[in-house]
């Protein structure tokens, strides 16, 4: 069990000296939001001090001071996480990268961009577009930092075609727990050069080091795109349609799943009922939104024709086309509003983002809905049908918080067991934080969990980096 020191006035002075008066905060100067991420239900923990860093050198100096004094350091980006990953469980220092938000340079010959970790996903995406390039990973939360995306290996909607954040990180600068600065990876397309510490850093949630710069891979931006909404009578027929799209070699960019409940919430929330609740006089049970990209309209039309034939065979209620810029805007605004729409009409909320083999989606959804009903908890869900990643929300407006937590724990325990049974994983893209550590341990087994801990100890022998997360069970929270 690690033991930590408090930030004494002397240590505070040393830290302040690194960044200056204006970027160092103690007590009530600290942004109260630093005590939580977007899931305050996992507990709020205030740090003793916070610092806005701007350079690798500053981070290095801060880590030297903190490791010498055994001060816990929790790295934070935009705070949009959903598993308590950036919450300072052991107090200490929050190191915030929001001011490290510069896009440093593009290398147009190798199609890469060098950026700082605090660049927001939406800013990188928009800036790359002005260079005719696309940053393929497309997690739903556009105001997350790219540093945060790397630390959680965020996925998003386009993973079906392009893969996840991991696939687009080529190199990075990392500050280790003791303040040493290392470079991992190179701007090359392949590597077969020893253990990939680069890939170990990706998804490590700030427990192994602090990422202070990175080189990201970009691709030429597709010339045109079109989406289709395919509504079905029920969830089963809807999900069974997904592998057919892939098998038909239609190469979709994304396949998003939405059931009737979430469509209703979203329409109420955005005020724009772009996704129909009834089609050809039948209630829609669930729909998928499929997106194709291509180099010209003819190519896309051919895909649409094929999709139409498949949909007919699968007894889809209809195939609706999202082709105009205003419809695209409305459709993606609606799709992006799902989580906020749930949050808007829900007082208590907890979530899971399991990933199961695509064909197991209906089984899992039916199971979790039954669990919700059994326990008096409203279940809302949506997700990436194309890759089996489901976002499932347990919601309540009338329960007391303690009772809610008690019931949700019953549901979660059973649901993760079911997920394991279906050969799924604990988290598809939100990661572990402290909220899901027990389920990770269950899922991977003691041997693997222990190995993770041993790796952690190599990088961070004093356990000062983001204590209590991923595989560090020494903190009892």
């Amino acid at each position: 069990m690690a033991s930590y020191n408090k930030i004494s006035p002397e240590i505070a002075e040393q830290l302040r000296a690194v960044v200056g008066e204006r970027r160092f905060f103690v007590k009530d100067e600290i942004d109260p939001n630093y005590s939580h991420d977007e899931m305050p239900i996992y507990g709020k923990y205030m740090p003793e001090a916070a610092v806005d860093v701007e350079t690798t050198e500053e981070v290095s100096q801060i880590m030297k001071i903190c490791s010498a004094n055994k001060i816990p350091v929790t790295c934070r980006g935009a705070g949009t996480g959903l598993v308590g990953g950036c919450v300072p469980l052991a107090g200490g220092l929050v190191l915030c990268t929001r001011r490290m938000n510069k896009i440093l340079y593009y290398d147009m010959d190798n199609l890469v961009v060098r950026i700082q970790p605090g660049v927001l996903l939406k800013d990188l995406a928009a800036d790359a577009l002005t260079h005719g390039l696309m940053y393929p990973p497309d997690p739903g939360e556009k105001t997350a930092t790219v540093g945060g995306n790397i630390s959680t290996n965020a996925g998003g909607m386009r993973a079906v075609k392009y893969g996840v954040t991991r696939d687009y990180v080529l190199a990075m600068t990392v500050v280790l727990a003791d303040g040493r600065v290392i470079e991992l990876g190179k701007s090359v397309c392949k590597t077969s050069s020893g253990y990939s510490l680069l890939h170990l850093m990706i998804g490590s949630e700030g427990t192994l080091g602090i990422i202070t710069e990175m080189t990201m891979k970009l691709i030429p931006s597709p010339i045109c795109d079109v989406s289709c909404l395919v509504p079905f009578r029920d969830v089963e027929s809807c999900i069974h349609f997904v592998p057919k799209i892939k098998l038909a070699n239609l190469d979709p960019q994304s396949i998003e799943f939405m059931d009737a409940d979430i469509v209703t919430s979203s329409a109420a929330f955005t005020g724009n009922p772009i996704f129909p609740e009834r089609v050809r006089n039948e209630d829609v049970g669930a729909s998928i939104l499929v997106t194709f990209v291509g180099s010209d309209e003819d190519e896309l039309d051919q895909k649409l024709v094929k999709l139409g034939q498949l949909a007919k065979d699968a007894e889809a209620l209809d195939v609706l086309v999202v082709a105009t810029s205003s419809n695209k805007k409305s459709a993606w605004a609606a799709r992006s509003s799902f989580l906020t729409a749930i949050e808007a009409d829900t007082r208590l909320i907890d979530e899971m983002d399991v990933v199961v083999p695509v064909d197991k989606i209906p089984a899992f959804l039916i199971y979790i809905r039954a669990l919700g009903e059994e326990n008096g908890i409203r279940i809302r869900n949506f997700g990436h049908a194309g890759d089996g990643n489901l976002h499932i929300y347990c919601c309540s407006n009338d329960l007391e918080e303690e009772e809610f937590k008690r019931r949700v724990k019953i549901i979660m325990d059973k649901a993760y067991t079911k997920c394991a049974e279906l050969e799924g994983q604990v988290s598809g893209e939100h990661s572990i934080g402290h909220a899901k550590m027990v389920y990770l341990r269950q899922s991977v087994g003691e041997d693997v969990f222990k190995l993770m801990g041993e790796i952690k100890a190599v990088f961070d022998p004093d356990y000062i980096l983001n204590p209590g997360k991923v595989c560090d069970s020494s903190l009892r929270v």
């Binding site: 109260p32 939001n33 105001t143 005020g271 906020t340 808007a344």
Partner: protein
């Protein structure tokens, strides 16, 4: 007829039989100034009876005359009788210009009689000027989402027809003229020929939160707002300040807030003591709708046009600044 043969400017006084809508009086006040330059006489045009006290308010705006129309067809607003009345009057008296308040009904019938008279019509001018060389009124208005100001004229045809939004000009009566010409006209419109008839009226339930025109303090949220989820803090700040929440057009277009909270030329014109904007870029169409004693602007873009209209500005993340304001105000109140 030459265009110089057309003389005098007219203002339509919209009323509901009890009170005159403010926009007609505002237009009289503004056009008084213009007529003083052009040498035209200013006439108020009233369809159907208006109580004496209200008529006095019209006279106080410095009009040179009143055209009072009576007849059949004016019980409730209808486009046919209204447009007809102006066409008949205009053919008889040849006014140089006719101004109509840009209310829903004003915008409904004015362009219509302009076609009957085969003349040019403009809407939503924010400023009126006059070119002595051509004798044309210059209708100056924002265009293309407020990116430019356009000068619009009616160079050949007469009368020059303009609808002007309520609240564009100030109600500042110039005082009553010693002589006020009174013209009485009877124009009957056969009620059988009214093609669109009033059947029923259902008043909106009054929601005080939606009545922002005269709130003491307004917290206005613009397109910088990420999504509806982030809105609550602004509501809270407005409440703490004893004020109301408002928004700019994009938030209405995005379906986040209702039309009645849209501040600006095409929405509500507000008069307030303290106005705080968050994430508002500052398009002319919006700022034209704000009359504030103290104007505070918060936006992350230091070059945003809104900072040209504010008394005090803070460059920063709108949500963070709002949260900090809430914190400091709550701390004071404790």
């Amino acid at each position: 007829m030459q265009k110089s043969d057309y003389k005098n400017m007219w203002v339509y006084i919209e009323h509901d039989g009890k009170t005159a809508a403010p926009v007609g009086l505002e237009l009289c006040c503004e056009l008084r100034k213009l007529c003083d330059r052009t040498g035209d006489k200013l006439f108020a045009v009233i369809l159907d009876a208006l109580p004496e006290t209200e008529l006095d308010r019209v006279k106080d705006c410095g009009v040179d005359g009143i055209v009072q129309v009576r007849g059949t067809g004016y019980e409730t607003f209808n486009t046919d009788a209204w447009a007809n009345a102006f066409t008949v009057l205009s053919r008889k008296y040849h006014p140089s210009a006719i101004f109509v308040g840009g209310t829903i009904n004003g915008r409904d019938f004015a362009p219509r009689f302009a076609v009957q008279l085969d003349t040019g019509c403009t809407s939503d001018a924010m400023e009126l000027d006059w070119d002595p060389e051509t004798g044309d009124i210059q209708f100056i208005e924002p265009a293309v989402g407020g990116k430019i100001m356009a000068v619009i004229t009616v160079p050949v045809l007469r009368p020059q027809v303009g609808t002007i939004r309520p609240g564009t000009f100030k109600y500042a009566p110039a005082g009553r003229k010693a002589q006020i010409e009174q013209i009485e006209e009877r124009i009957d419109f056969d009620p059988e020929k009214i093609r669109c008839r009033h059947v029923d009226f259902i008043p909106d339930e009054s929601d005080p939160e939606l009545d922002i025109a005269h709130a003491d303090c307004i917290v206005c949220v613009g397109n910088g707002l990420k999504d509806a989820e982030h809105l609550e803090r602004y509501r809270r700040l407005a409440k703490l300040l004893g004020g109301k929440l408002g928004c700019t057009r994009p938030l209405y277009d995005r379906g986040i807030l209702p039309y009645k909270l849209q501040i600006g030329q095409s929405g509500v014109m507000v008069k307030t003591k303290l106005y705080i904007s968050f994430g508002v870029s500052g398009a002319v169409n919006h700022t034209a709708g704000v009359d504030a004693e103290v104007f505070v602007a918060v936006d992350k873009n230091p070059d945003a046009q809104i900072f040209n209209y504010c008394d005090y500005g803070i460059v920063g993340d709108m949500d963070q600044v709002c949260d900090e304001m809430i914190r400091q105000i709550e701390a004071r109140q404790k």
